[in-house]
Amino acid sequence: MAVNKREHLDNVLETHRMKHIDNLVQKFKEKRGEIKEALEENYTSNIYSPLNSGSFGKHTAINIKFDLDIVVPFKRYSFGTIEEMYNAVYDFLYEKYDKTDLADVRKQKVSIGVLFKADEDGDLISIDIVPGREISENSYLESRDLNIYFNKDTWGFNKGTYTKTNIQSQIETIKSKEDERKIIRLLKIWKNTNSEPYKSFLLELFTLKAFDKSTITGNLWEKLEGVLIYIKDNVIREEFTLKDPGNTSNDLMKNLTSWERQNLSNKMQFIIDRITENSENIKTYFPINKKFDTTESYELKGSSGLSVPKDDQRFG
């Protein structure tokens, strides 16, 4: 029997909701609060109030992969250079958490990762801290623009350089867009369960632009299909741009090679074709998180319990 695609996708979203891991999220939030307080206490008047970002801040988190990031806005003259700011925050966190054996602290692409040791339940909590510096003196509260430092060659930027971003603006862009957020979550589920290399932020911007520039209507599957078609058609267009709402001079499309663009377009086509040919394929691309699936029965599938080959038996 054909899979009801809308119902299936609803269930995919449901089983990937953060509420299923509320206890764990609570632990993340506590650690995040603890780090925020420590930063505020240490840097006092040199920083503005740290803000939450990452997928949790944007309400696009899924329970198989989510980030609780903290953006720390520093004042213009708190450090000589942006690199000094990045290294100072790393040193501070290293002293506080790594040296005391509470966590492993490491420099990442633009953030500093704090990975706490497993707690009594075996849970590993990790928080990413992104230090940013306001563009000019006292400009942050009005513009919310920050310069962030690149510690590695990434996203088309070289190590040692910096770029402007506006986390607040990124968050605002997605606020109150429930339909878009559902599709973003579905695409993130596809990305994570199918080990796709594309950046979540890229998929997020594609989705927002698809809703903005194209007619995305119908039920959940139809909306998803509309976005997939939009990506398929546009990612290979040379003049197509995807601008970071936090910095319009940052076009994410520039970081994709023509080979990557073609592959992403092909992928979108494959997803649509395979699901159209056989709706069971939707489970390959958008699987239910079985851990939280209440619809699955415990009956043994394809087997009476005898050692006959089951219908999922493979041969070779």
């Binding site: 080990s195 092909n266 394929n281 219908d311």
Partner: protein
């Protein structure tokens, strides 16, 4: 007596040749018993003077025979030019035509092209053309010697011994042939220059010893026609002395035995070739001349060459690039260290195909025993009896390629250790180190538990999972890390896998899938073609299914 048909054919040949504008003079065209022969002169603007050629047309004309043209042009004054045989035969290969007139035009135009290219412009071909050598038979036996490039260079005038192993005795048309391969060249003092075979071939016992001499130039006239007598070789005294000593040493024990004399020479800046002259112990081409001083014999003897004809053996350069010159997989695959888990029908076909396409490092693991009923749809043989699959398969791979190296991995590694301890962090690091020794791992085990465990690990290796549905209706291929969910969904939900119609052998209750060698091999070959495209960078590594659809096979990418 000339038949009517022949007369018609002869007249047509005659009239057509006379219409070719660059045939300036037809001196003679005659109808013989078996041939049409003649003499013509060719002249066109670029030629200073007309060029005469004899020609011979056999009965088969305009059809080819034994893949060669049934028209031959000769001019023995031209043998120093490229593509001319020793008897003055101009070597041409032309297009097929069943129409006699058309074929004459084609062939005469080919002659004209040869004249422009090699006679007027004196072009030299980029690729090396082997010497024209007449292979000889010694006492009704032919001898062949296969070699590869070695890991060391040779210098002008270098002499030494060649260590050979017998590959196989066989038949060469109506004669017997003894096939040897060179293990290494040994020069003084005790320096081995090894051919690049795998250890299996290198470790075989030495069955014969030969002598070698390395020179800068080919032992040939015009650099093309191998010398026909020993005197033409102009051998230095040290090699003559060596030949004398060698024969003396083995005269009694090996009398009549054929000893190869290797003559090496450079064919370009990096490569060398060997021609092999055959010598019989007792009849080495040397003779003793008494040394004289002031007209009197000193009692000492001096070895000189005995100017007898050379019996040339067959020599073949089977270096990796020639062995796989006609077609192989991309370098990423051929240079990769590969592990195949499970060598049943699919795994064994993958192993032999990878071997034939130039892969050099293929290890495998399988706990299973090969039985007669496995033979019909895998790369095993009845002649090897009941045998561990891994042992038989390793032997088969060595029989196919002298460049492949194959080891088997301990069965317990996967069945016990990995499955038992894969959740242990320390053991995970250990497994990872072990598996990451391989660049590519093909999991053809069809073991869902192993698939799950391998997918859980953080691997550098490129892991590829391949399995079939019953009747080999589909082949499912998935790439790490997107294997477990994909394969499960395919077999559980997407594909129609009929497991009621299984083959149940007599005597035991272990049903297996139904499919022939042809069914399976077709899918495996298509899958490997796709995998080769992926590794050569032509295609993205998307999971795929191969499915038969209205008598054609379709690759469905995900």
């Amino acid at each position: 007596m000339t038949s009517v048909l022949d007369r018609v054919k002869f007249d047509k040949i005659k009239s057509t040749i006379s219409t070719i504008p660059f045939v300036s003079i037809v001196n003679r065209i005659e109808q013989g018993k078996l041939f049409v022969s003649g003499n013509i002169e060719i002249y066109f603007e670029e030629l200073e003077n007309p060029l005469p050629f004899d020609f011979l047309i056999t009965q088969e004309y305009p059809l080819k025979t034994y893949s060669t043209e049934s028209i031959t042009f000769f001019n023995s004054d031209l043998i120093q030019y490229n593509h001319v045989m020793q008897n003055g035969n101009i070597c041409i290969h032309t297009a097929h035509s069943e129409d006699l007139e058309n074929k004459i035009w084609i062939d005469f135009n080919a002659l004209k092209v040869w004249i422009v290219k090699y006679y007027i412009n004196k072009e030299k071909d980029q690729k090396y053309e082997h010497l024209v050598v007449k292979d000889s038979t010694v006492n009704g036996n032919k001898y062949s010697f296969t070699f590869t490039s070695t890991d060391k260079v040779f210098r002008e005038g270098e002499i030494g011994f060649v260590k050979l192993s017998l590959l196989h005795d066989g038949h060469y048309k109506k004669e017997n042939i003894h096939n040897f391969y060179v293990k290494y060249f040994e020069t003084f003092p005790n320096l081995k220059k090894k051919c690049s075979w795998n250890e299996f071939y290198f470790e075989q016992p030495t069955d014969r010893e030969g002598i070698y001499l390395f020179r800068e130039s080919a032992p040939a006239k015009y650099n093309r026609f191998a010398f026909t007598t020993w005197a033409e070789l102009d051998l230095p005294q040290d090699i003559l002395t060596m030949l004398h000593d060698f024969q003396k040493q083995c005269f009694k024990e090996d009398f009549g035995k054929v000893i190869p004399f290797f003559i090496g020479y450079k064919i370009n800046s990096t490569e060398i070739h060997w021609q092999i002259a055959l010598m019989e112990v007792g009849k080495f081409p040397i003779k003793g001349i008494p040394e004289k001083k002031d007209g009197k014999k000193t009692g000492k003897w001096h070895t000189t060459i005995d100017d007898v004809p050379i019996n040339w053996g067959i020599s073949k350069n089977a270096s990796y690039e020639y062995f796989f010159g006609r077609g192989r997989f991309c370098d990423v695959l051929t240079d990769a260290k590969i592990l195949i888990i499970g060598v049943g029908a699919v795994g064994s076909m993958i192993a032999t195909t990878l071997t034939r396409t130039g892969c050099r490092f293929i290890d495998f693991i399988d706990h299973d025993i090969k039985e007669p009923e496995n033979v019909c749809r895998s790369e095993y043989r009845f002649s090897k009896g009941i045998n561990n699959k891994i042992f038989e398969l390793a032997g088969s791979l060595y029989e196919i390629s002298p460049f492949v190296t194959s080891h088997h991995v301990n069965n317990d590694y996967f069945e016990k250790y990995i499955k038992s301890f894969y959740t242990d962090k320390n053991f995970q690091a250990y497994i990872k180190t072990d598996l990451d020794k391989y660049d590519i791992i093909f999991d053809c085990s069809t073991d869902n538990d192993l698939m799950y465990v391998l997918n859980k690990l953080l691997l550098r290796s490129k892991l590829i999972n391949i399995s079939l549905t019953n009747h080999a209706n589909e082949l499912v291929c998935a790439f790490y890390p997107n294997i477990y969910n994909f394969v499960n969904n395919q077999f559980s939900n997407v594909l129609e896998n009929d497991v009621n119609d299984m083959y149940e052998p007599t005597g035991c209750w272990s049903p297996t899938f139904k499919a022939s060698y042809n069914d399976i091999a077709l899918l495996v070959q298509i899958a490997l073609k796709q995998i080769n495209r992926i590794f050569s960078g032509e295609k993205a590594a998307n999971n795929f299914i191969i499915q038969e659809n209205n008598s054609s096979f379709k690759i469905i990418e995900y």
